[in-house]
Amino acid sequence: MEHLRNEMKMEFLAVSSNEGFARVAVGAFVAELNPTVDELADIKTAVSEAVTNCIIHGYEQKEGSIWISCRIEGHQVEISVMDTGKGIKDIEQAREPLFTTKPELERSGMGFAFMEAFMDEVEVVSEPFKGTSVIMRKTIGEG
C-alpha cells in the first residue's frame, strides 16, 4: 500500500446533536485506511467520549465551539479534539476510571478510560480557564 498522508480540520458548535456528526465525520475521514469494523467502532467511541467531555465539562452545556483536527500518516491516525472551555484542574484524577465531577448528571466517569482502551495513545493538555485538548493516536491495520 502506498504511504498515505492526509489532513482535515473542522469546527462546530458544542451541542449534543453534534456528537453523532463528529464521530461519523472522523469515521468517514479514516475510511481510506481501510479500518476493520472494530477499529472503526473504537475510533468513533473515542471521538464521541472526547466531544461529550467538551460539551458537558469544558463548556458545562453553555455555548462554545469544538475543533477537531485529524492527520493520517502511513497507518497511523492522530485525532485532536479541542475546546476553549474551563479546563481540567487535575488531569491525573480526571483520567481515573469512575472519577466524575458530575455524578448528578449520571456520568459514569468512564470517558477517558474508554478513550485509553480504544486508542493506542491518549494525551491530555489542559489549562484552567483556557481549555483542553485531547490528542489520540491509533495505528490501523498492520502498521
Binding site: 456528537e19 464521541s48 467520549e49 448528571l105 459514569s108 482502551a117
Partner: protein, 101 residues
C-alpha cells in the same frame, strides 16, 4: 415516543435508540423515568435490538435506572447486545452488575 416501549405482565421493555450517546441519553432518561413512574413494574428490560452504537453516556443511564428499579425490589436485564455494545458492557463492568442475555 409511544413505540419505544412495551409492557406486559409487570415487565417494562425499553427499546434502546440506534445510537446511545449523551444526546440520546438525555431523552432516554426522561422517558424511562416517566414510564417507571406511570407503571411501577417488577422488572425492566433494556432491549438493544436496534442499537449499533453506545458510549459511556449509556452506562450512566443504565446504572441510574437499575438503582431505581432495584430500590423497589425490581429486577433488571439487558438483551440483544451487538459486539460493540458487549465490549462496552465488559470494559465498564456493567456485565457484572446487570444480567445480559
Amino acid at each position: 415516543m409511544e413505540h419505544n416501549y412495551e409492557k406486559e405482565y409487570g415487565c417494562l421493555i425499553l427499546k434502546m435508540p440506534a445510537e446511545l450517546d449523551h444526546h440520546q441519553a438525555e431523552f432516554l432518561k426522561e422517558e424511562a423515568d416517566e414510564l417507571l413512574m406511570k407503571y411501577p413494574v417488577r422488572s425492566l428490560i433494556f432491549d438493544f435490538t436496534d442499537t449499533y452504537f453506545m458510549d459511556s453516556s449509556g452506562i450512566g443511564v443504565i446504572i441510574g435506572r437499575c438503582k431505581n428499579v432495584r430500590f423497589s425490589g425490581g429486577y433488571v436485564k439487558a438483551v440483544h447486545l451487538n459486539e460493540q455494545i458487549s465490549r462496552i458492557f465488559q470494559l465498564s463492568g456493567l456485565m457484572k452488575i446487570i444480567e445480559v442475555e
